[in-house]
């Protein structure tokens, strides 16, 4: 089967006042459709840089990246914007909700940039909000929710365009363990429903929700293993 994400010898070099820093030194892996993969590493290991590359947020310096069988080097800026909109959903550590705006409006935001007809927007957004269990908060100002609820809004926003893959960047990083557990349960459920999930974390108990953990060290893959005992819903901290 053709992998959804396939990177070959991916390298990224940053130039800070002409002094090169190699953040990624040749990374190769495949992620299959429907897979739940965690990428782990200490801060500075290059795991965030890797997420930026495969999440279409930044450009790599060397190597190749195939998304759904297509070499993304062939895409222009607008096509990449379209992929970000249609095929991937982002969950950020710091939520990135618009202030002074309702839950519904926040979740609808990706639809504004899509080609989905406007009359479907409310339906799609309402369903996504239902999926994260926040129907009772739909009209509330997103900025006034609890942190756990905010992260669930951000998941609903990532889901609204029915993407192929969800990239979650330390989604529990700002949450207490109870709401962290709720968020991971939702992500786990999405995975069960067939969504591909790529999770960035430095916590082992969060990473163990995934079927596979890729560990990054100094810009290279240090290990790539299946998880022996995958955590299920309600097992945030065993």
């Amino acid at each position: 089967m053709q992998p959804l994400i396939s990177v070959k010898d991916l390298e990224k070099t940053f130039y800070d006042s002409e002094i090169p820093t190699q953040a990624l030194r040749g990374v190769t892996f495949d992620i299959q459709k429907g897979e739940f993969v965690a990428i782990m590493g200490a801060s500075g290991s290059g795991k965030s840089t890797l997420l930026h590359m495969i999440g279409f947020l930044d450009q790599y310096t060397k190597g190749e990246y195939f998304f759904d069988g297509e070499n993304i080097a062939n895409f222009d800026d607008d096509e990449i914007a379209h992929i970000r909109n249609k095929k991937i959903g982002f969950v950020f550590q710091s939520f990135n909700l618009l202030s002074g705006t309702s839950v519904l409006e926040n979740v609808k935001l990706p639809l504004v940039y899509s080609d989905v007809p406007e009359k479907q927007w409310n339906d799609l957004a309402t369903k996504a909000i239902e999926a994260v269990g926040l129907s009772h908060r739909i009209g509330n100002d997103a900025q006034r929710l609890s942190v756990g609820e905010k992260q669930r809004v951000s998941i609903a926003r990532a889901l609204v365009n029915d993407p192929d893959v969800i990239f979650a960047d330390e989604p529990t990083g700002n949450l207490d363990s109870k709401s962290g557990g709720q968020v991971m349960d939702i992500i786990k459920r999405l995975s069960h429903k067939g969504k591909t999930v790529v999770l960035i974390t430095h916590e082992t108990h969060t990473a163990e929700y995934a079927q596979r953990i890729i560990r990054i060290l100094d810009g290279k893959i240090f290990s790539d293993e299946k998880v022996a005992h995958v955590r299920e819903e309600g097992e945030f901290i065993k």
Binding site: S48, H52, G55, F56, L57, D58, D77, D78, A81, H82, R84, N85, K86, F90, F92, Q93, S94, N96, L98, S99, G100, T101, L109, P110, V112, Y113, S114, E118, R157, N161, D169
Partner: protein, 413 residues
């Protein structure tokens, strides 16, 4: 992104910093309202002047000595020029010289006050023809009679006075006909009083005393030239022809071959109107240029705030890009915000300018001027177009900057 969502997104962006947004557009508001005010008042002034000039009659022609004045000193100097004489008036009266002449009378100004038994009043003293004055100013006699050509020929010491002059000199006295007033130490018998007429052109008719020009020349001023010769053409359509006839006649009489050396000049209401319009237009243009500068300053203010906004909202821009906004989407959004700012400033400015002009109109009317409010539609449209252009010009750089932000910014913690 659809226009509706552009509006919504821009409104959301601007609402977050309401006070700042309002302060930003203040420059544009002031600039645009100044434009509206200038054009509205300019038009009002033109209407006022036009109304006053036409009050004098469009068939009136005035000949003055010297050259067309270019400054205040030229006007005062003209009082001492002696190029207009009785012989000139006689020549102009001849049908063969000026065929469309209806009326003619020379005039002299007599500076000073008039007095009656210790009461004094600084009236406008004319040595003129009472008959022509009444015709030109559309005045009516309240009591008594006007002096005629025989009185002028005899250099009679008689006077026709305005209603204010009567009030100031005689107080409540009812019958003033036959009483003597003093002008420059000489007694003049009041033979006529005019009913109140108010302001006509640049004169307040009620403050005028008219005496025969011949008397004023000989007994009060000791001169044998005139300060003005005032004529009426048979009708307004012959004014231009008559002006030409006057010039030809006087040049011949004064032996002038080089028209740049004329020792007289002819003023018509239309000519004055043209001159005043030219001055007003130049003034309006100059003020508009000043306002234009203030609009540019306002535009720079908008650009400044938009740049601050782009920096502040780096994370929001990153998020929008991370969820699928193209560079163009982001650029259009910020450009739209800038235009919304400036066009709001433009609309508020037009309303404010029109409001102020209405207030000033109201005030001037209370003060007794017949001033009409006119809404300068052209200037309003121009102002709005200008405000949109300012938004475009000064918004494009910040918008470009916003569109070039990277989506990674959204991930920064």
């Amino acid at each position: 992104m659809q226009i509706k969502h552009l509006f919504k997104t821009s409104y959301m962006g601007l609402r977050t910093n309401m006070v700042r947004s309002l302060l930003t557009i203040l420059g544009i508001v002031i600039g645009i309202s100044a434009i509206i005010l200038i054009f509205s008042l300019g038009k009002g002034a033109e209407n006022l002047i036009m109304g006053e000039l036409s009050g004098m009659g469009t068939d009136t022609i005035v000949i003055r000595p010297g050259q067309q004045p270019k400054g205040l000193s030229d006007i005062t100097d003209a009082l001492f020029l002696d190029s207009l004489t009785t012989e000139d008036v006689e020549a102009l009266k001849r049908k063969s010289n000026v065929p469309y002449l209806a009326e003619i009378a020379p005039a002299v100004m007599v500076p000073g006050t008039a007095s009656y038994r210790g009461e004094t009043f600084k009236a406008t003293n004319f040595g003129w023809s009472a008959e022509l004055m009444v015709k030109m100013f559309g005045a009516e006699l309240e009591s008594g009679v006007l002096f005629d050509d025989i009185d002028i020929k005899n250099k009679a010491s008689v006077a026709v006075i305005g209603s204010k002059v009567k009030e100031e000199l005689f107080g409540n006295e009812e019958n003033v006909i036959g009483k003597n007033i003093k002008i420059k130490g000489r007694n003049f018998r009041v033979i006529g009083v005019m009913s109140s007429r108010g302001q006509v052109s640049s004169f307040n008719v009620d403050e005028i005393i008219v005496i025969p020009y011949s008397t004023a020349q000989v007994y009060l001023l000791g001169i044998n030239h005139y300060h003005e010769i005032i004529l009426k053409a048979t009708s307004a359509e012959f004014v231009n022809q008559t002006v030409q006839d006057i010039k030809d006649t006087l040049r011949e009489r004064h032996d002038i071959t080089d028209i740049t050396k004329d020792d007289f000049f002819v003023v018509t209401p239309e000519g004055m109107l043209d001159q005043i319009s030219t001055i007003l237009d130049a003034l309006t243009l100059f003020l508009s240029a000043v306002v234009g500068i203030s609009l540019v300053v306002g535009g720079v203010g908008v650009m400044n705030i938009m740049l601050v906004s782009v920096t502040e909202r780096t994370k929001e821009i990153g998020l929008r890009k991370a969820i699928g906004a193209t560079n163009k989407d982001v650029m259009v959004q910020f450009l739209f915000e800038a235009i919304i700012l400036t066009i709001t400033g433009g609309i508020v400015g037009v309303l404010l300018g029109a409001g102020l002009a209405t207030l000033i109109t109201f005030g001037l009317n209370l003060a007794g001027y017949t001033w009409s409010f006119s809404f300068p539609l052209g200037a309003a449209i121009l102002g709005l177009v200008f405000s949109i252009a300012i938004g475009l010009i000064f918004g494009i750089y910040p918008a470009r900057k916003a569109s070039q932000k990277s989506p990674i910014e959204a991930l920064k913690r």
